[in-house]
């Protein structure tokens, strides 16, 4: 049911709403997965979209924090986010327990989109950038499109602690900066090495991770003439197009796109990724 829509890029109407946390999993000391009950969001969200969460009824932290939807269960009416504690907002988010309600706006942003020619999806994830790609994998599975995931991390810890990814992807390449598992080096290096092996007309690249990684992927994609979509992360003041704080340079550098309303998924050839 959900699987057909991904073939065109979607934008949905966001709702200001609340959802109940129904499950919480500590993946690593600083990585958590929350399952949030919300029938509408679980039903209409597409891979690439995100929710913008208000972390407390206090005025500090002030702004919402955006998180990609990493999985949905439309039948059971919940969706999941996977996040890393990096500051005060995520620290508070990690303190929430099942049963508590969270205030959120979503689904926000556009989604990845699939060309009808595509026979194989190449997914490249850096660290927690795997979050939206995991949701994409869920869709690709239903669409029966072949998929290869390149997932880079600093160490092996997250790979081991998050087997969900392995289970949703048959062809999976790990890379670690410290060589503790898989390819020793950057995920972009491995990707550049293996990309010549694929039939370029029939593949699409989907990448999410830190900007330097995305820049490299963008390069590789351009050099090889492969259709490539990048899911960006920028600071966000609102998440729905009002603050203009999430600007991303257009390829020409002469105008800006906005991550929350024009993205977060961009065609790699449309944008200039900041270093």
């Amino acid at each position: 049911m959900t699987s057909d829509i991904i073939t065109t890029q979607v934008k949905t109407t966001a709702q200001l709403t609340t959802g109940k946390i129904i499950q919480k999993r500590m993946v690593l000391a600083d990585v958590f997965k929350l399952s949030i009950e919300h029938s509408r969001i679980s039903r209409i969200s597409k891979p690439g979209q995100f929710v913008n969460i208000k972390l407390s009824d206090q005025l500090t932290p002030l702004l919402r924090r955006p998180f990609s939807i990493t999985a949905v269960n439309a039948e059971a009416g919940w969706f999941e986010i996977l996040f890393k504690v990096i500051g005060e907002g995520t620290r508070r988010l990690a303190l929430l327990e099942p049963g508590e309600m969270i205030n959120l706006i979503g689904p926000l942003g556009n989604s990845f989109w699939l060309s009808s020619q595509t026979k194989r999806a190449l997914l490249v994830a850096g660290g927690l950038g795997v979050a939206p790609l995991a949701f994409l994998l869920q869709h690709l599975y239903q669409l029966k499109i072949k998929k290869t995931l390149f997932w880079g991390n600093q160490t092996k810890e997250l790979f081991l602690a998050y087997p969900e990814i392995k289970h949703s992807c048959l062809e999976l390449f790990y890379t670690t900066d410290d060589g503790s598992m898989g390819y020793h080096g950057l995920v972009t290096d491995l990707f550049a090495e293996v990309i010549p092996k694929f039939e370029h007309e029939a593949v699409q690249i989907f990448a999410c991770g830190p900007n330097p990684m995305l820049q490299k992927i963008q390069q590789v994609a351009t050099q090889n003439g492969i259709d490539c979509q990048l899911s960006l992360e920028t600071l966000m003041g609102c998440g729905f197009g009002a603050c203009m704080g999430c600007n991303v340079q257009s390829a020409s550098g002469e105008s800006y796109f906005y991550t929350c309303s024009d993205g977060p998924v961009f065609n790699a050839k449309d944008i200039k990724v900041d270093g």
């Binding site: 208000k54 005025l59 919402r64 729905f240 197009g241 704080g245 600007n247 800006y256």
Partner: protein, 303 residues
């Protein structure tokens, strides 16, 4: 029944809740969250003569109970505003005030003339006070003479409600306020953002690409209240209170201090339904406190 209406010059607002420029897009962004017609009015993002893409990323940063921005008046320019945004704004029943920014007096006049000749709107707010445009915006608003000149020039062009938005980054805001009043402003918006800055101690880089930016949000409310108090005591025309409004208590605080209306800014980002909620909450407050008209609140400070 409570009468929440307030007057800014000849402009009658059905209630005193407006949205602050730059925090409410052109209203359309909020149409999915609230009924725009429940607001006293909408103040648009600044419109300039030419399109502006604004400043490089990063141009927002969160601070404690506040945020910095240096958007840099990004907007499509008055011509695209007229073709792309105005039709939607014309379709609304709520009052529409266009915030206008410019580098020269001529450009202020040009933008307003173009909008006037395209069906007009209910009022104009002159942004002489944006701290994020290097070319002169801030200089205008810190000089009573130039503020007066701009006001006078625009006053000749439009009979619509003319609001001048003041910067708090001055030694004497009342001097600027009086200059705008004497040249024909119908109301004054107090205040724009405070100049602020934040540094990431790990990278040792400023958190904004422009180094400094404008501070808004609840952290600045005490400064805004003080500025409103100063201006209210310096001029006869109505003052619109702006700065850190997050809830009904803040609205009441501004009204009691003497503001005739208020604008909600940063709060829109956090709760896109806040403006409609505030209008409803204000009505409920008046009902439950047996207040029949806002005149019983506005300026009713017990000193």
């Amino acid at each position: 029944m409570v009468d929440l209406s307030v007057k800014l010059g000849n402009l009658v607002l059905s209630n005193p809740i407006l949205t602050a420029s730059g925090t409410f897009g052109s209203g359309e962004e909020f149409a999915g969250f609230i009924d725009l017609n429940k607001l006293g009015g909408i103040v648009t993002k600044a419109v300039t003569r030419e399109p502006r893409i604004g400043n490089p990323y990063p141009r927002i940063a969160e601070t404690l109970a506040g945020m910095l921005n240096s958007i840099g008046l990004a907007n499509p320019g008055v011509e695209k505003f007229i073709t792309q945004k105005l039709p939607f704004l014309h379709s609304l029943k709520t009052k529409v005030i266009v915030n206008v920014a410019a580098k020269t007096i001529d450009d202020f006049a040009h933008v307003i003339r173009r909008i006037e000749s395209s069906g007009g709107v209910d009022g104009y707010e002159l942004n002489v006070s944006c701290p994020n445009v290097k070319e002169g915006g801030i200089a205008f608003g810190t000089d009573p003479r130039i503020t007066g000149k701009i006001t006078a020039a625009v006053r000749k062009i439009t009979a619509k409600c003319l609001i001048v938005k003041l910067t708090p980054n001055v030694t004497s805001i009342s001097t600027i306020a009086r200059a705008a009043e004497s040249e024909g402003a119908d109301a004054l918006s107090v205040m724009n953002t405070l100049v602020g800055m934040a540094v990431d101690i790990h990278s040792r880089r400023p958190k904004l690409s422009t180094i400094t930016g404008g501070l808004s949000g609840p952290a600045v409310k005490p400064v805004a209240i003080a500025r409103v108090y100063e201006v209210v005591n310096a001029v006869q025309i109505p003052v619109i209170g702006i700065g850190g409004i997050m809830g009904l208590e803040d609205v009441l605080e501004f009204l009691i201090t003497g503001a005739s209306a208020i604008q909600v800014g940063t709060a829109n980002f956090i709760n896109p339904a806040i403006s409609e909620e505030l209008a409803a909450n204000l009505e409920n407050y008046c009902l439950s406190h047996h207040i029949k008209t806002l005149q019983d609140i506005i300026g009713n400070l017990q000193t």
